[in-house]
């Protein structure tokens, strides 16, 4: 699992790449130290799933943990570029109703904080 961070004016885009199963979730968790160290108040954190073609409940837990941290710091999280399989798993967990999900990174960048 690869994790790349890219800053933009309102926050950061996190590009995930690989398989977000239990092993992948552990790798993402260890990369999230960078997010935990950053000031997040008023920021938008966008997570791109363009290169993620599989996610399990372990992966969802990592995303939810990140959401909770960002929320606690008064930031906003937006998810984007999910394929049908990844979106379906978020649906199974009832998370498509509560997360902000866009088709593209550009749409996500346009979301108000």
């Amino acid at each position: 699992m690869d994790v790349k961070f890219e800053e933009f004016d309102k926050g950061q885009v996190i590009y995930l790449s690989g398989r977000l199963d239990m092993a992948g979730a552990e790798e993402v968790e260890s990369s999230m130290g960078q997010l935990r160290a950053a000031p997040l108040e008023g920021k938008v954190i966008i997570v791109s799933f363009a290169d993620v073609h599989y996610i399990s409940s372990s992966g969802l837990r990592t995303i939810v943990a990140a959401f909770n941290h960002i929320h606690d710091q008064n930031g906003k999280m937006v998810l984007c570029q999910m394929d049908i399989g990844v979106h379906e798993v978020f649906e199974f967990a009832g998370l498509t109703e509560v997360f902000t999900i866009t088709e593209t990174v550009e749409e996500a960048k346009g979301i108000d904080t």
Binding site: M22, Y54, S57, A65, N68, F92, A93, G94, V98, F99
Partner: protein, 144 residues
């Protein structure tokens, strides 16, 4: 569904890094048996979740244990077993996770079994005569 698929079984070490290859083998089997893309996704997720639970709960996160995965086609159903020798649990005793509301108000447990129950047509869990635990799922192939 192709009922001529020869059953498969293999033993895996309980390292989460092996989950990808377990899923690949089950997907490959299900694909040869005629499963469509949706069924392939669902079977992969269900098997991953069961195996992840074995690693986390049956073996308490230990990475040096083994478990067995078996797959066969029986009466037009895909049947997958995950067999371990760790701590038993009862899927029926796992509380359904909260699926509504802000993620900050939800607990994080129980999602994996919830997915398995949602995907599988039937599930069975119990002890084999050998003393091992077997988690079995049945999944009907979609009509094409």
């Amino acid at each position: 569904m192709d009922t001529c698929c020869k059953p498969i079984e293999f033993v895996v070490t309980s390292d989460p890094k092996n989950l990808e290859s377990v899923c690949a083998r089950i997907r490959d089997f299900a694909e040869k048996a005629g499963a469509d893309q949706k069924l392939l996704r669902h079977i992969e997720l269900a098997v991953d979740e069961i195996c992840s639970n074995v690693i986390c709960h049956a073996y308490n996160g230990q990475r040096d244990q083994t478990y067995k995965v078996c797959a066969k086609v029986e009466e037009q159903k895909l049947v997958v077993d995950v067999i371990d020798h760790g701590i038993s649990f009862s899927p029926s005793c796992i509380k359904k996770p909260k699926l509504e509301g802000c993620p900050t108000t939800r607990g994080i447990g129980g999602l994996g079994i919830h997915f398995v129950k949602k995907i599988a047509d039937e599930i069975e869990y119990g002890k084999l005569p050998s003393g091992e635990n077997r988690f079995r799922i049945y999944k009907q192939c979609s009509a094409s």
